[in-house]
């Protein structure tokens, strides 16, 4: 390779350089601000994770799999995955190979950062560099890959259904400018390199284009405007990048190590929350996933719009969107980047100002403890020794509205011969999760303290819960050392495994509904299914497991009224009954009563079917 221009500079690199310097300084300042906004503890955790080889290996893998190959999108839809990964990985390879070329052929130019981008303009091919045809081929190949991705992207704008997306995000004006400039970059690059391919060398794509161009445009002077156009497209894209959804490209690079370091959203707008907002690619996967978007009016209240409004500081809309959400966590489960829509919303709710604050200091936990004191000998304050498990059953508020669940659970425990006590048979303190979801963390913590004191003093070694809402907060926020927190689905599975209860199978077709808080919230999918399989035939809903659809009754939503939830419940029921089951089984008292309201077929809790199946055997 031989250099054509002594200076290695032409004015057309200016738009690119302006964009590049702008975007780089923006990102460096932004990253520094985000790291400074983290709490001291989180910052320490973040820096320590960077020197931990195990976490670092995971970071590198995630950088490649998430940012470049978009593995999560491939799993969702092949075409969607190809479209994203072709542009991301293709562009990455163009940059990498461009740099390799500069290192190999013109090492004296390494410090000029525009050189690898506009390499073909500045060099001419010589006989000795024909070995470089391998790189020329690679460059053309990846350019073709990107162009195919761009064509798919154009098709996707018109027909997103081909890509498995029913609805997509409505792009904002800056998103559109970014989008069009991104679409322009690569065809312009092809054109620019096509013009110079006879001098600088090229491969199947650029060489052939060169032949075509020269057949009617013989003037060499045409090549400068195309290089200008290419540089301007790059410059426009990079200048608009911080204000458009394409900010997710640099933001995700920082998000991945922070996520892997285990940092949580603590502040509503600063630090990790801000990073999540900027990492949102506005892809719109959450729109189709959101159970609320069955009603078209709700599509603008999905996570992607929450992120957009937070960027715009539109407080009225932020409040509206965050209060409406059911907190089912499905957007978090499907998000290809890992934006935690539910956590973000709880954080937004937690900064709200209330003038009145409830307090639970007047509640006497000793009086509550006396009602359920079974395992502690009151005379000498020792735990009654017993080889059996000492199970404390906390039914929870929602279970007390569906007493058949607590009755069945108690009956099963009796059949299995387990010593147990019901903690809140005459009313007790709420677990705190509904208060937590409303964003009033301090009040929730107060309830947590009260309940912790009762449970610890009760001498129980197992806390059994039949409500996933309680289960989630007991698992995450309570500090109950030495006491096992267990959901009744897990407990029944264990009882069946150990042979303490035997289920009499029937030929009833059951469909199991994954409650949001149990499935996505706590990752329990298999145990309830094992139990249902023992009781009858298990069929699956159209969307199940991680993608199960919220029943619509969730306590997470603060503003969604009773009448507005009907459509959501009916949609969830249609999804459940796709395999025409005889009975819907769920493991959440709230889902049970919500479905029961509109379902044509019986809805039962898992405790009820286990109770029935064990009863049959006795006859």
């Amino acid at each position: 390779m031989r250099e054509i221009y002594l200076s290695g500079y032409n004015n057309f690199v200016l738009p690119f350089m302006i964009g590049m310097i702008f975007v780089l300084s923006w990102c460096v300042i932004g990253a520094a601000r985000i790291i400074l906004q983290l709490t001291g503890e989180d910052r320490k955790k973040f820096f320590l994770s960077l020197i931990n080889p195990k976490i670092m290996a995971k970071n590198v893998r995630d950088w490649f799999c998430d940012c470049l190959f978009h593995v999560k999108l491939w799993k969702r839809n092949m075409l969607l995955g190809y479209m994203h990964s072709s542009i991301a990985f293709g562009w990455f390879m163009l940059i990498v190979i461009g740099h390799i070329e500069v290192f190999l052929y013109t090492p004296q130019r390494v410090h000029q950062i525009w050189y690898p981008i506009f390499f073909r303009y500045f060099v001419a091919v010589t006989d000795s560099t024909m070995k470089g045809s391998f790189f020329f081929f690679l460059m053309d190949f990846f350019l073709l890959v990107i162009l195919s991705g761009i064509i798919l992207a154009i098709i996707k704008r018109a027909r997103s259904r081909f890509f498995g997306m029913r609805r997509t995000t409505n792009p904002s004006i800056t998103d559109l400018i970014g989008l069009y400039s991104l679409w322009c970059i690569f065809p312009l690059r092809l054109l620019a390199e096509g013009f110079t391919a006879d001098i600088s060398g090229g491969s199947f794509l650029t060489k052939s284009l060169n032949m075509v161009l020269h057949s009617f445009l013989s003037d060499q002077m045409n090549m400068l405007p195309t290089w200008w156009a290419y540089s301007i497209a790059l410059g426009v894209f990079m200048c608009i990048l911080p204000f458009s959804r394409y900010m997710h490209i640099p933001a995700e690079i920082l998000l991945i190590p922070m996520r892997n370091a285990g940092i949580k959203v603590t502040h509503a707008r600063k630090g990790y929350a801000k990073l999540q907002v900027y990492s949102c690619p506005s892809c719109g996967v959450c729109i189709d996933a959101c159970p609320m978007s069955t009603v078209k009016a709700n599509t603008k209240d999905t996570t992607v719009y929450l992120n957009r409004q937070i960027k715009r500081y539109n407080e009225r809309r932020i409040e509206e969107i965050s209060d409406k959400c059911l907190l089912c966590g499905k957007c978090t489960a499907v998000c290809p980047v890992g934006v935690q829509g539910d956590m973000m919303r709880i954080a937004q709710r937690s900064v709200r100002k209330y003038k009145l604050a409830p307090s639970y200091a007047n509640i006497d936990e000793n009086a509550l403890l006396e009602r359920c004191n079974k395992f502690v000998n009151t005379s000498n304050n020792t735990v009654t020794s017993d080889r059996n498990q000492r199970v404390m059953y906390f039914a929870g508020c929602m279970t007390s509205l569906t007493p058949s669940i607590s009755k069945s659970t108690a009956a099963i425990l009796q059949k299995a011969g387990i010593r147990f006590e019901i903690m809140d048979k005459d009313g007790g303190i709420c677990c705190g999760r509904p208060m937590f979801m409303a964003g009033r963390i301090a009040q929730a913590k107060e309830m947590i303290e009260k309940n912790t004191a009762i449970i610890k003093a009760s001498g129980a070694d197992t806390l059994l819960l039949s409500c996933p809402i309680c289960y989630k907060i007991f698992k995450e926020q309570y500090q109950l050392e030495g006491i096992e927190v267990i959901h009744h689905t897990e407990f029944f599975d264990r009882l069946i495994e150990s042979g303490k209860i035997t289920l009499n199978g029937s030929d009833t077709r059951y469909v199991y509904h994954d409650p949001c808080e149990l499935g996505r919230g706590c990752g329990i999918y298999e145990q309830p299914r094992n139990v249902v399989r023992k009781a009858g035939e298990l069929v699956e809903a159209e969307k199940h497991g991680k993608e199960s659809i919220c029943c619509g009754g969730s306590l997470g939503s603060l503003t969604l009224g009773f009448d507005k939830r009907k459509a959501l419940t009916e949609n969830a029921l249609a999804n459940l009954t796709i395999a025409s089951p005889d009975t819907i089984v769920t493991a959440c008292p709230l889902c049970r009563s919500t479905f029961n309201r509109y379902s044509d077929i019986p809805v039962k809790d898992i405790a009820e079917i286990v109770d029935e199946a064990t009863r049959k055997k006795k006859r």
């Binding site: 209330y354 003038k355 409830p358 639970y360 007047n362 509640i363 709420c430 509904p434 409303a438 009563s593």
Partner: protein, 112 residues
């Protein structure tokens, strides 16, 4: 000193002309549901905080309407926002949001 063997209870009459209704009007503007309550008492029957502070959404609304705010705050002081009242309300009132709105509008200290 009860020498007659009976007492006269203090009057429980409320002069609505003296009640500052501004905040209740604001509440009704944000929560139109506040006036849809038919006082059936389902919420009182299910409330887990009723055993601690006598909480009842029905009573709270009644007290606020009559300007007896102190009494209302006392009842609300143990509300756990568990949502049972929302589940049982036959009028479909979103009681959780109603309670949160009361907490936002009314203020203990500002009471004249």
């Amino acid at each position: 000193m009860n020498i007659f063997g009976f007492r006269i209870s203090p009057s429980s009459a409320i002069n609505l002309d003296n009640v500052d209704k501004e905040r209740f009007r604001e509440l009704c503007r944000i929560e139109p549901d506040a006036v849809r309550c038919m006082a059936c008492g389902s919420c009182s029957a299910t409330c887990p905080a009723a055993g601690f502070s006598g909480m009842s959404v029905r009573k709270v609304l009644l007290y606020l309407q009559r300007g007896k705010e102190e009494e209302a705050f006392k009842l609300m002081s143990n509300c756990m926002l568990c949502g049972k009242c929302t589940m049982v309300c036959p009028r479909g009132i979103n009681t959780r949001h109603l309670i949160l709105s009361i907490c936002r509008i009314y203020d203990k200290e500002e009471k004249k």
